[in-house]
């Protein structure tokens, strides 16, 4: 689905992402794991054209010429949902579909489908973001990301701002959704438990570089270097 060749991101003197090669297959679930500042969010944002990168990002074999045209095929969810406070949950979800001129019936039907998928009721959809709980907001954000039925779901620490109970509940619902939809999923997390919970492959990052890639249990069993061993040990300890 994605192929990155020598993709790098630099903010002034700071190298946020060193030149990186990465391939992501269709239907893959890939967890970007690492400590704060390791470049995992920067890498994820390269996959939707929000980071100003050098190098080549190819989507379905073609270098991306115009990110805006591609974005309807990509769903993006961030830590606090990124919902627009002036729009109701429903308007947030329907925004882009309306912009693209979808028929009203089609929007309503799609919303109903998605609401059932993320377990929100119609009443909750009429509320403004601030009238929803943190977990409900993330469910709305997932609805919004899925509205146009994208091929790829990009998740930037979607669970980090939630309390433990909400987090576990949303995580298992998300795993179910991901499994049901069979989409390509790339998710940033700093928690080893989440990487293990969602399965798939994990890319462990440090200082803007990919240190090791593989199923999380392989990383634990065969750490590429001391950092990997230490990071996994520290995560397991708590």
């Amino acid at each position: 689905m994605y192929r990155l060749e020598q993709v790098a991101v630099r903010y002034g003197a700071v190298e946020a992402l060193a030149p990186t090669d990465l391939a992501i297959g269709a239907g893959d679930t890939l967890m970007l794991l690492g400590p704060s500042g390791s470049g995992k969010s920067t890498l994820l944002r390269c996959l939707i054209g929000l980071s100003p990168y050098t190098g080549t990002v190819s989507f379905r074999g073609e270098p991306v010429p115009d990110w805006r045209a591609l974005r309807p095929q990509l769903g993006y969810v961030i830590q606090n949902g990124g919902l627009f406070p002036h729009l109701t949950a429903r308007a947030n979800v329907a925004l882009m579909a309306r912009e693209l001129g979808w028929e009203k019936d089609r929007i309503v039907a799609r919303m109903r489908e998605l609401a059932a998928l993320v377990a929100l009721d119609a009443d909750q959809l009429e509320r403004f973001p601030r009238e929803l709980s943190g977990g409900q907001r993330q469910r709305v954000a997932i609805m919004r990301a899925l509205m146009l039925d994208p091929e790829v779901l990009l998740l930037d620490e979607p669970l980090s701002a939630l309390d433990p109970v909400t987090r576990v509940r949303l995580a298992s619902d998300m795993r179910e959704i991901v499994a049901k939809l069979g989409k390509t999923v790339v998710m940033v997390t700093h928690a080893l438990g989440e990487a293990r919970f969602f399965g798939g492959e994990t890319v462990l990052m440090r200082d803007g570089r990919i240190v090791q890639r593989g199923p999380i249990d392989d990383l634990a069993a065969n750490p590429a270097d001391d950092f990997v061993a230490e990071f996994i040990a520290a995560e397991e300890a708590l």
Partner: protein
């Protein structure tokens, strides 16, 4: 009244940027933007009304007058004289000061106005250093203007005393003062300091031994009446001279320059009108003018009646319009000024604010530029606009428009810049076009800040529009100006109270508009 002779000189005006009209919004629109759109429609309607209002039905001769009583009386005298001779005439009363009138007659906005030779020589044409009044006609001709024959009185400086005090000391002229250094002399503060004021006078007449005090001119007559001072400086046609029966000391060494009353006219004025006005020559002397001023300032007659009295005509029973009708009329005038200026400012300032937020370079240019406009003193701005736009509503609207730009531009900019990056990126991540992002996300999120800016601009405009009366735009400034001129508090309040009420009303109205237009998700929780 003293200040009427002094007014800021015009400076070249920084041209306002080309008016860029923002493209119409497509049909589906956030409520707030719809409000802005309806304001824009209001503006269009306003322009139409203003244009209709300013179509002059006839080519009547236009008489202008300055914002003090004597000038208004003289303007009425000119109007009535012209009309009696069968020449249609209108009088645009109390249009601010000399500079405004001079520019207006030069621009052809008025055809004539009453002026004083001294004012022409020492203020308006001061750069030409004219040696005497005899040089004035040639200097004015170069500006396309001519002078009427002198009306007959001079409104110059003089020293005044109570007659019994003058008699007691045997004083007839200013030179007699030198023999009585113990007299208490009080002159206007400005007269004390001016080089051609007391110091020069004292040197010319040898009055060094007299200790002179500065005093506020308005208090001087009272101090003289109460016997607290013996000698004050006056203008030779002040109403109080007639009312208090004061004695003027002769200027026996011809120290004070002449301020002979004349009409300044366009060269192209109808020769018949010129002849009629020249027929007024020598008809009004100082004592008569003092009486006419007294009729209006002290006895409360209308300027029209004073003018009729000057022309030997009966006073008319001029039943003025009722208070409510007057206020209603001025409210319409005032609101029209504010609505058109504000509407035009919205059309220009919102795109400018967006541009400033989009491009730091443009922002670095636009925001200081609008800020600079704000620092131009309002009266100076009004005066600067006269050569471009004439007098009346147009320059007033232009000035209000310029002053409205800053609060709106700045708040649009601040509102857009205050949107969290995560929300801007979420909009990008959805694939919204820049225009859709601006319309659906950024402007609605910035709306509370933008509305606050518009409200500020509106309230400022309501206040500043009162100054429009100085250049003939009408509105609530009209009675304020008249009230100041006649020293009549009720008349001042007739303009000041509605102006304050309108400002409050606009505040209230904007709160309602804000409540209706700001989405529930952004409103403060209460």
């Amino acid at each position: 009244m003293r200040n009427a002779r002094r007014l800021a000189h015009p400076r070249p005006l920084p041209q306002a940027g080309g008016e860029k009209v923002c493209t119409p919004y497509p049909s589906r629109l956030r409520e707030g933007l719809r409000d802005l759109l309806s304001i824009a429609k209001l503006v269009a309607a306003g322009w139409a009304i203003a244009t209709l209002m300013h179509v002059s039905p006839t080519h009547a001769e236009t008489v202008g007058s300055k914002a003090f009583t004597e000038s208004v009386i003289l303007g009425e005298i000119a109007r009535i004289t012209l009309e009696d001779a069968g020449i249609p005439a209108e009088h645009r009363r109390q249009l601010g000061g000399s500079r405004i009138l001079f520019d207006a007659v030069r621009a052809g906005e008025v055809d004539l106005y009453p002026e004083y030779t001294g004012t022409l020589r020492f203020e308006i044409l001061s750069g030409e250093k004219l040696a005497s009044d005899a040089d004035l006609p040639a200097a004015l001709a170069r500006q396309g203007l001519r002078l009427s024959k002198p009306i007959g009185f001079s409104n110059g400086y003089a020293l005044a005393m109570r007659p019994e005090v003058a008699k007691k000391y045997g004083l007839r002229s200013i030179s007699d003062l030198a023999r009585h250094p113990n007299l208490r002399v009080a002159v206007s503060n400005e007269f004390v300091d001016r080089a051609d004021g007391w110091r020069a006078l004292s040197a010319a007449y040898g009055l060094d031994a007299i200790a002179v005090r500065g005093i506020d001119h308005d208090l001087a007559y009272r101090a003289l009446r109460d016997g607290q001072v013996d000698v004050i400086d006056v203008y030779t046609t002040d109403a109080e001279i007639a009312a208090d029966g004061l004695f003027l000391l002769a200027d026996d060494r011809a120290f004070f320059p002449a301020y002979d009353a004349v009409f300044v006219m366009r060269v192209g004025l109808d020769p018949k009108a010129i002849a009629v006005l020249d027929g007024l020559a020598g008809t009004i002397d100082e004592a008569r003018m003092q009486q006419l001023n007294r009729m209006v300032v002290i006895d409360g007659a209308s300027e029209t009646d004073a003018a009729r009295a000057a022309l030997g005509q009966e006073a008319t029973a001029s039943a003025g319009r009722g208070l409510v009708a007057r206020i209603a009329q001025r409210t319409i005038e005032h609101l029209t000024l504010v609505a058109i200026a504000l509407g035009a400012a919205l059309v220009v300032a919102i795109p400018l604010g967006v541009l400033a937020a989009r491009s730091p370079r443009a922002g670095g240019l636009v925001i200081p530029a609008t800020g600079l406009l704000q620092t131009i003193p309002s009266l100076a701005l009004f005066v600067m606009l006269i050569p471009l736009l004439g007098i009346g509503a147009k320059p007033t609207i232009a000035a209000l428009f310029l002053y409205s730009l800053l609060p709106i531009v700045r708040n649009v900019h601040a509102g857009l810049m205050g949107i969290p990056r995560s929300l801007r990126e979420s909009a990008d991540a959805l694939g919204l076009s820049p225009w859709a992002k601006l319309r659906r996300i950024e402007l609605p999120l910035a709306l509370p800040t933008i509305m606050a800016g518009i409200r500020t601009a509106a309230v400022i405009a309501v206040g500043l529009a009162t100054l429009g009366a100085l250049i003939g735009a009408g509105g609530y400034g009209q009675p304020i100006l008249t009230g100041i001129r006649l020293n009549s508090t009720p008349t001042i309040l007739e303009g000041a109270i509605p102006a304050a009420a309108l400002a409050l009303l606009i505040e209230g109205a904007f709160h309602l508009i804000e409540r209706a237009s700001v989405p529930r998700g952004l409103r403060p929780r209460g």
